[in-house]
């Protein structure tokens, strides 16, 4: 690849790329979520079938498209015909249809709530309510194709920043934009940059935090996998703005594809002269290294992450002195989340005011969420700040599966809070979610239906956090351990009302006295469930009941005589031979033997097994 010596070289390459860019192409989501659903086999089949027919339709293997619950998803452009859950055996039919300009009806998306079938991606409600800004180029860009990225306007923001703007003007735009950190804390990015930029130290660093560790959340993974150039462009602009010449992308070990794509993207940018010395002939030098994290959740915390990059144990430290003053190796350091940096090229290109026109008073722009749980459309969504939780859960998420009732939505990852139906009309922004006892976090969003036991949910998340606590400070290490013990007790029917009070007291102290963000936010799942679902705690403690039938110690299984046809299937499937009964006669469960595994209930076709 030839080195770009100037802005003109870049624009020339862009024009060449645009002239080669096909109008008609097939985009196949090939991120980790899609690969788990067999996208690689589909990709090979597509290649083969297209070649066999001699069609001039290129196939782009892109990052995940977002509708991950229906992966592999492919879209035929320019029309935007979307096919989902495509299998290798579907491919010949799809390619035939593409060749003839027809449509394969059976692979189109049907809205599970309304039963309506949609041909075009842009009409599907899942996409319609979204505002895909940072995820925008995902479907038309092959992650490592510099040409694809240039065709979406890639690196025009970098050129603008380097040649038309002074560093302080860039920072001012970012301040005007109101961009706040997407990793969880929501600190204003512009202020952070300004603070680092004004430090006199000639050596400064910029770090991109890709240590995304929330269970079920994969916003940053998807961006690093699918649009590494976008993130890196934001990072180079950030480095120029604050005066850093060295940067690090910290990616967790569990993200092999993201690590590979970022590393290869960096290599390409070096070859092109978009990283290294004298970027685009501007005189600005900057290079990036990839650092792989070992997978400790706490390393997503800024001071622990910095310790980890330095090669020390990833443990947080007190942060009275900000990293922007003394961070990596004691030098001024800017640490931004992946998604935060991905927003930067848009702000530079379209201006801070444009960005600030999206969202609410205090939370600007869009936010990517990974929508998971008991809804129809699980996947990655990008919405404008201020959208209500209801719109996300029902309009985008398609509502609760199997017609069950909504119970709670947990936002913000394991240390977020659980919000009930009464809070569904809350706007999604940093401060509203905080005030409601939850948080924006990095963008995890888990929807739960009536089958979720809120005490058990709190127990689950506290268990995760107890295991991930580094153990340095007392409230987090010891406090969480006892929280978990108490929750275990309550879910086993051995709790007392004093235990519930003690949970609240522990929650208060852990939240206030812990050393880092992990501890400070860890009580959220407990405190929010006590706040909104107190009656469930009371039922567990006083009535020894779990209304959702989740807490095994508090339930037993019974066969409803009227419904039992004596089909004998439960008898055959019970792993401990606890069910007796002759074929065609009513069966009975021996409570002494029953281990409450629930298999009988799952296999019964006549609704004859109930949880009491």
């Amino acid at each position: 690849m030839r080195r770009l010596e100037s802005r003109e070289d870049l624009e020339r390459l862009r024009e060449e790329a645009l002239s080669r860019q096909p109008e008609r192409f097939i985009s196949l989501g090939m991120g980790t979520a899609s690969r788990a659903h067999g996208a690689e086999v589909v990709y090979s089949a597509l290649k083969e079938e297209v070649a066999k027919r001699g069609l001039d339709v290129p196939i782009k293997a892109t990052g995940d498209h977002g509708l991950c619950g229906y992966a592999p998803v492919m879209v035929v452009y320019p029309e935007g015909v979307l096919y989902h859950s495509v299998k290798a055996q579907d491919v010949p039919e799809v390619v035939d249809a593409v060749g003839k300009g027809e449509i394969v009806e059976r692979l189109l998306y049907t809205d599970p709530m309304t039963g309506k079938t949609y041909t075009y991606e842009q009409d599907i409600p899942f996409y319609k309510k979204q505002m895909r800004l940072v995820l925008g180029p995902m479907e038309s860009v092959e992650p490592l194709s510099i040409e694809d990225y240039l065709c979406c306007g890639g690196f025009s923001a970098l050129a603008k920043a380097l040649f038309d703007m002074k560093p302080e003007e860039i920072i001012q735009e970012v301040i005007t934009s109101g961009l706040r950190g997407r990793g969880g804390a929501g600190f204003r990015t512009g202020w952070k940059w300004e603070d680092a930029a004004t430090r006199p130290d000639p050596v400064k660093y910029i770090i991109c935090n890709g240590d995304e560790g929330d269970p079920g959340a994969y916003m940053d993974r998807c961006l690093l996998e699918g649009l590494p150039y976008e993130v890196l462009e934001g990072m180079i602009i950030g480095a120029y703005a604050v005066g850093a010449h060295e940067g690090f992308v910290y990616v967790r070990k569990e993200y092999p594809l993201a690590t590979r794509n970022v590393q290869e993207a960096i290599n390409t940018l070096r070859e092109l002269g978009l990283l290294g010395e004298n970027i685009l002939g501007s005189g600005f030098d900057f290079d990036i290294q990839v650092v792989r994290g070992g997978g400790a959740f706490v390393c997503g915390e800024s001071s622990a992450l910095i310790a980890s990059v330095e090669g020390r144990v990833g443990e947080p430290r007190s942060k009275h002195v900000h990293a922007t003053e003394s961070g990596l190796w004691g030098k001024p350091t800017v640490l931004n989340n992946v998604e935060t940096l991905a927003n930067v090229p848009f702000i530079v290109n379209r201006g801070g005011e444009w960005f600030a026109s999206i969202g609410t008073e205090e939370s600007k722009g869009t936010k990517v969420f990974s929508l998971a749980g008991d809804i129809y459309n699980t996947g990655l969504v990008e919405v404008p700040m201020g959208i209500t939780l209801r719109e996300v859960v029902y309009d985008i998420g398609g509502g609760i599966q199997s017609g069950k009732a909504f119970k709670a939505v947990q936002t913000g990852g394991p240390s977020g809070g659980c919000l009930p139906a009464s809070q569904l009309d809350l706007p999604v922004d940093f401060d509203t979610l905080d005030a409601a006892g939850s948080m924006m976090g990095s963008g995890g969003m888990i929807v739960m239906d009536e089958d979720a036991c809120m005490v058990d949910v709190a127990r689950y998340f506290v268990k995760f956090l107890t295991e991930e606590s580094c153990g340095k400070c007392v409230p987090c290490r010891e406090g969480l351990r006892h929280m978990l013990e108490i929750l275990d007790r309550i879910t086993q029917g051995e709790g007392t009302m004093e235990d519930v009070d003690l949970l609240e007291e522990l929650g208060y102290v852990i939240a206030n006295a812990s050393l880092c963000g992990l501890g400070k936010s860890a009580p959220n799942p407990v405190l929010s469930t006590i706040r909104y679902f107190r009656e469930e705690y009371v039922e567990h403690v006083r009535d020894k009941k779990c209304r959702a039938g989740v807490c095994k110690a508090l339930v037993h299984y019974e066969i409803v005589a009227e419904n039992c046809t004596g089909c004998h299937i439960c008898f055959k499937e019970c792993p401990v031979d606890a069910i007796s009964g002759e074929p065609k006669a009513v069966h009975v469960i021996d409570q002494e033997k029953c281990i409450k595994c629930g298999i009988c209930k799952d296999v019964c076709k006549f609704d004859a097994v109930k949880v009491v």
Partner: protein, 236 residues
């Protein structure tokens, strides 16, 4: 000079001092278990948390590393401070139920009973030993292992630690006195670190006063002739 108030009392502190240092000089009690003036603040025990108001903003911070500032208002006696202090100590007492130092502190700050299940650790994980070894002695003979409540202080792989010179500095700083040092028949033994080393007798008075490992380390560090180092502190 920096002027601040702590619990309503005007205090003059030096630039660069921490709230804890200023308070202690002014005779105001703030409990700590992981602080020692010779090593860097660690902010792990969380017992020294106080409320600090600067301008309009009140924050809940650790006094051991928070720098004083002019006009700062510090409160060490608010409900929040007391509530957190007590519960944190209660948690430590549940972790290590048999430490007299914790019982004494409990009397001072008013922890009456422990409402949590107890385990029988003896180490409160303040890290004083680990940090002293690294920062003062200049060795890293011991360290932390495990995370969360499985965290503990040990030697690498629980084997006798090569760098350990049995200087006993870790034992000296341990606030709960659980790193015993024994001296038997000309040997110094530290069971906790699986180490034993022959001792050096003072060339003047004949008293055993340091280990051979220490002698070797001191020689290397100071470059002083061995015969000088073989004289004990009393005879020098």
């Amino acid at each position: 000079m920096v002027k601040l108030t702590i619990d309503g009392k005007e205090v003059i502190a030096r630039e660069g001092q921490t709230v804890l240092e200023a308070a202690r000089e002014a005779g105001i009690f703030i409990p700590t278990l992981c602080y020692h003036h010779e090593i860097k603040p660690y902010t792990a025990c969380r017992l020294c948390m106080v409320e600090v108001t600067k301008g309009k903003r009140t924050r809940f911070v650790t006094a051991c590393d928070y720098p004083v500032a002019d006009g700062m208002v510090v409160r060490t006696d608010t409900e929040k401070v007391k509530k957190c202090r007590k519960l944190v100590l209660e948690l430590l007492m549940a972790q290590c139920p048999n430490l007299p130092q914790l019982q004494e502190l409990a009397q001072v700050i008013g922890v009456e009973k422990v409402r949590f299940s107890k385990r029988d650790d003896d180490c409160i994980l303040c890290g004083m030993c680990v940090r002293t070894c690294a920062e003062v002695v200049g060795l890293n003979a011991i360290g932390f292992e495990g995370r969360g409540f499985n965290r503990r202080v040990c030697t690498p792989f629980d084997e006798p630690s090569d760098p350990c010179i049995l200087c006993g500095a870790c034992s000296y700083v341990c606030p709960v006195n659980v790193i015993p040092v024994e001296e038997v028949d000309g040997y110094r033994i530290m069971e906790r670190w699986h180490k034993k080393s022959a001792m050096v007798a003072c060339s003047k008075c004949g008293r055993y006063f340091m280990t051979e490992d220490e002698l070797r380390y001191l020689k290397e560090k100071t470059g002083l002739p061995e015969e000088k180092l073989r004289i004990c502190m009393d005879c020098r």
